[in-house]
Symmetry: C2
Subunit: 406 residues, 2 copies
């Protein structure tokens, strides 16, 4: 097994200014190509701790990846720390400097003394081009262990990792074939999934991890042995078929988009409490214009009436958060957008606005698939974010399951 | 200085199934109350590594916080590992079991053998109530160092931390007074901010961290010395006043909501490439119905024409991504929603759909504040997410600045 570590550099992580998403991205991709991630640890911009940790990584892992600390500012110390840990000097790198100069000139930014710092790289480092920014990545070698340093900005880091680091790792290490799948369920408690997994029994050479994320349960199965992989996965899906959404690491938005696209169906939304979240989730997906026509976010009653045609009567008698309003909202949605599938959501996301009769978390969803209407009342737990996300996931999940069973 | 560590437990972190957001939340809150976070490190569900790390934390830190690993499933090992590290036994806790039983009964979930595991807690542990879920938190003491174990689900973890852990820390430790502020800028490169900070000079007892997040630069200033804090902050804001957005850790949505609410202004959106993101960002904020009326997500040309009244002529001659379309979209938006502020955004978020004339990243924004219209062409860099986020942040930032200067 090839062993690796991932280190996110930046004091901002230790004061909670940012959430480190890079490490999760890298961990997932490394696992997919058959590399084990043994250590994930953020480090502050502290040259002493950086050098100490990097030295340890050079001696304990086949390679380690750092993200961040490659910028032009005074607290960007990765190159210096890697050089010290590898026992080489920092050197002004002409290629790197030329790249920085070109990019800044193109952007009309004047070159400052600080930008020259970005061209100071460990002697002998292998450069990794950055098509999106000034910070070049680089790889250093110390006694057969590699440091791989990438920029911290995710959209600079990711293409660099995909285009240069993955080929590098494949070339330098003999990677095992990995069988890995995320199997996704919705609509049942975690403990039920756990019980089924215990019943099936986890083979000793198969790794099985349950992960709960608002409204979804994801079981990740991973092994190098195809003979145990296939039956386990088949068994699990069979036993929980009623709750099964799909495989892969597609988001619910991606699964829904794919299914709609395959079936040439269009979709539109009338959103109240989700406030644009349904629309955002589907438009997160490239190409979503093929299936998504549009939506109305009807936050005020005026918009519910004026644009969606909900009657004043209904709002007065039943309230904006009611089955009746949801049903009139979906009527308006169908009329405005004329799509195969129409959705209306109205509810109380909180934290305020709840009453004993209509508590926070009460949500009505109406989903019309080619004339077949399902209206449902929910009582979601969690905070404002969770309630909005659970509402959206319920809608996506419900459409996915109904399309599957047609 | 009180020293602490934060440990997120879960093998799912090492395979990239989830992004650990809990550690960032805890790091921020601990810093705010004057606790230094020295170590952040996720751990897999591996009893050996957990015990080893927890032992180290008991001996090196004043306290450490763990999140996750408190569930009912076979890979939830936090209680066992803490007990081993603290040198005490696991004990069936009646109070914890009663809580689990009550909650599950209320939810109509049948109690399983696995749920009993959740009541096995380290002997002598101080229980932390969980109003949102079955997993009780707990605090253990080993020679004056504390382990504080919280559930991994953010909306269970956060109230437990706020309601019980913060009072516990304040009671047991003598915390220094902290002066800390996030100062937020937009519309200039990081290197310019860095240069101004160098010019001002960072006092040795003041910590100053620059953090770049799509479309925003956040400078976090932190010290225990009020005498250096005030002049530094004043100076920095004065020197970069033109780019200054606000203080605090308010999101742009929160800042905009606050300003609109103070001024009693209403807002609506006509969104194309942002696809609901503007609406989502403002409705993320509790109480946003006071200022946000509604929006149209006009992804297809039909919706642009039918609902917003963009003319076919304009779409044919100039295209959906054009200044002209943006201007007609905003006209439609004003007519539909009749708000004080109306916004239209149309652009190419990619990755496909770009041409040499209209590349990916080309975005037009139209912002009308009580009849004063600003239409602007942008060329944003980054991937689909970044382009959408930069577009949204530009809109919010621009409205904030224009409202400030009125």
């Amino acid at each position: 097994m090839i062993r690796s570590a991932i280190i996110a550099v930046g004091s901002e992580i230790f004061i909670g200014s940012i959430v480190d998403t890079n490490s999760a991205y890298l961990a997932k991709r490394l696992n997919q190509i058959g590399v084990t991630v043994d250590l994930i640890t953020p480090l502050p911009d502290d040259i002493g701790r950086m050098v100490e940790t990097f030295k340890k990584c050079f001696s304990e892992y086949d390679f380690f990846i750092t993200t961040g600390g490659l910028g032009p500012t005074f607290d960007d110390l990765t190159a210096e720390a890697i050089a010290k840990a590898a026992g080489v000097k920092l050197q002004f790198n002409d290629t790197a400097y030329k790249h920085i100069e070109d990019l800044l000139t193109k952007r009309g930014v004047s070159i400052k003394e600080s930008h020259k710092r970005q061209a100071l790289l460990p002697e002998g480092a292998l450069l990794l081009p950055n098509s999106k920014g000034t910070a070049m990545g680089f790889i250093c070698d110390k006694n057969g262990s590699y440091s791989i340093s990438l920029p911290g900005i995710p959209y600079e880091m990711k293409p660099m990792f995909e285009d240069y680091v993955i080929p590098f790792i494949r070339k330098h290490f003999n990677l095992p074939e990995i069988f890995m799948e995320d199997i996704r369920f919705a609509g049942l408690p975690e403990s039920d999934v756990d019980e089924v997994i215990r019943e099936i029994g986890v083979p000793s050479n198969l790794e099985c991890i349950i992960n709960v994320s608002k409204g979804e349960i994801i079981v990740r199965v991973r092994t190098t042995d195809r003979k145990v992989f296939d039956p386990f996965v088949t068994n699990l899906i069979e036993k929980l078929n009623r709750f099964y959404i799909g495989k892969g690491d597609e988001s619910m938005g991606e699964i829904l988009f794919r299914m709609l696209n395959e079936r040439k169906k269009s979709i539109s939304f009338a959103e109240s409490c989700t406030g644009g979240l349904l629309s955002k989730m589907i438009t997160d997906i490239p190409g979503s214009s093929k299936v998504f026509v549009g939506s109305v976010v009807s936050y005020s009653n005026d918009v519910k009436m004026g644009l969606l045609g909900v009657s004043e009567e209904t709002l007065k008698s039943f309230g904006a958060v009611s089955k009746e309003t949801a049903m009139e909202m979906i009527k308006g949605c169908k009329k405005l957008f004329n799509t195969d599938i129409a959705v209306a959501v109205t509810g109380i996301a909180g934290p305020d606005g709840g009453t004993s009769e209509k508590p926070v978390g009460l949500v009505y969803t109406a989903i019309d698939i080619e004339g077949e209407l399902e209206v449902k009342e929910h009582l979601f737990s969690g905070d404002r974010d969770a309630i909005r996300e659970r509402s959206a996931k319920y809608v996506f999940d419900s459409i996915i399951k109904r399309l599957k069973s047609r």
